[in-house]
């Protein structure tokens, strides 16, 4: 079926899947950088792949590799990496409402609760599109991130860095694009986003990497206390 003959209804059904696959591929490629960094830090290729398969959350993975590289305490390194994963707990609070997973599907969906899937799911206009966008992004990103980690770990990073293709801009550009409608719609959302940016940038020089972003959730707490009325997003 060509794009010209697709009805608006079909376009609505295709869009969350198409956007999810595109985001998954674009962000997944940066797994090459993780694979290369992990092996450069002294992890084996198997350990790099195990982290991508089992932890599957970029910030925590880079954090553990950094501690291994620095020869720091592995116990403290694991604790720090796990702390960075607490962002995903906060995402889960919101996604539980959209995905409403039960039993085995909850165990499976949990592995997919990360920045990219949250952003794209919450940018959808309704629950059905939200679930489609979540699944499409999770499946594509899981596959691409793991293949890219393997490629980076065995030396593909030497061919050309993801940065030379502008891959480092994909994540931040996608996050802004996906929260943009919320920022346009609500004054509280704009204030919360600005406060969060100020907190994260202000604390970056003084706190370990990743922690300033988690502390930016204080801005959401402030917003919820000062302005409890809800706006937008799927259900």
């Amino acid at each position: 079926m060509s794009a010209q003959t697709a009805t608006p209804q079909q376009a609505r059904e295709i869009r969350p899947v198409r956007d999810g696959i595109g985001l998954g591929i674009a962000v997944g490629i940066s797994g090459v950088a993780f694979g290369a960094a992990a092996v450069g830090s002294g992890l084996t290729a198997w350990q790099a792949c195990a982290l991508s398969l089992l932890a599957f959350t970029g910030a925590s993975q880079f954090a553990l590799a950094g501690v291994v590289a620095a020869g720091g305490s592995l116990l403290a390194g694991s604790a720090g990496a796990i702390l960075l994963g607490s962002r995903n707990t906060l995402y889960g609070l919101r996604l539980a409402d959209v995905l409403q997973p039960r039993g085995l599907s909850r165990l499976l969906a949990a592995q997919g609760v990360i920045d990219e899937t949250t952003a794209i799911t919450l940018a959808q206009p309704d629950l059905v599109s939200g679930r489609k966008a979540f699944s499409a992004t999770f499946c594509t990103l899981y596959l691409t991130w793991n293949l890219a980690t393997l490629a980076g770990a065995v030396g593909a990073g030497k061919i050309g860095s993801p940065q030379s293709f502008g891959i480092d801009v994909v994540g931040p550009a996608a996050f802004i694009a996906l929260i943009y409608p919320r920022l346009r719609a609500g004054r509280t959302e704009r204030a919360v986003a600005l406060a969060a940016v100020a907190i994260a940038l202000g604390l970056t020089p003084v706190l370990p990497a990743g922690v300033p972003v988690i502390l930016a959730s204080v801005a959401a707490l402030g917003g919820a206390l000062l302005s409890p009325a809800a706006t937008g997003g799927p259900a």
Partner: protein, 105 residues
């Protein structure tokens, strides 16, 4: 080497448990309007903070890489023109890639 494996598996287990915990929170907790509103605003705060940190810092310092910032500028311009999502991220990546290839930034 065994110690590193323990660290890898402990990190994986901890990260998975934290993801599952969020999805498992009892629905009655989210019934409170303020908790609900907090859950709604959290992704806005975290994703905005993440975008800022990823585009304007490196390690512990503010790092204004011209190619990266130009890429973000291109994304914002595309958003203002109501471009579809994939066009926005391609515009961002392509702008940064072209500037770097040209050696401009």
């Amino acid at each position: 080497m065994t110690g590193t494996w323990v660290a890898v598996l402990a990190t994986a287990a901890g990260c998975y448990a934290l993801k599952l915990a969020g999805l498992t929170v009892p629905p009655r907790l989210l019934a409170s309007p303020r908790v609900r509103r907090f859950a709604e605003l959290v992704p806005v705060a975290l994703l905005a903070a993440l975008a800022a940190v990823q585009s304007a810092t490196s390690g512990h310092s503010i790092d204004l890489d011209p190619a990266r910032l130009a890429g973000m500028g291109a994304a914002l311009a595309a958003l203002a023109l109501r471009a579809p999502f994939l066009v926005v991220i391609v515009a961002a990546a392509a702008t940064a890639a072209v500037l770097r290839a040209a050696g401009v930034a």
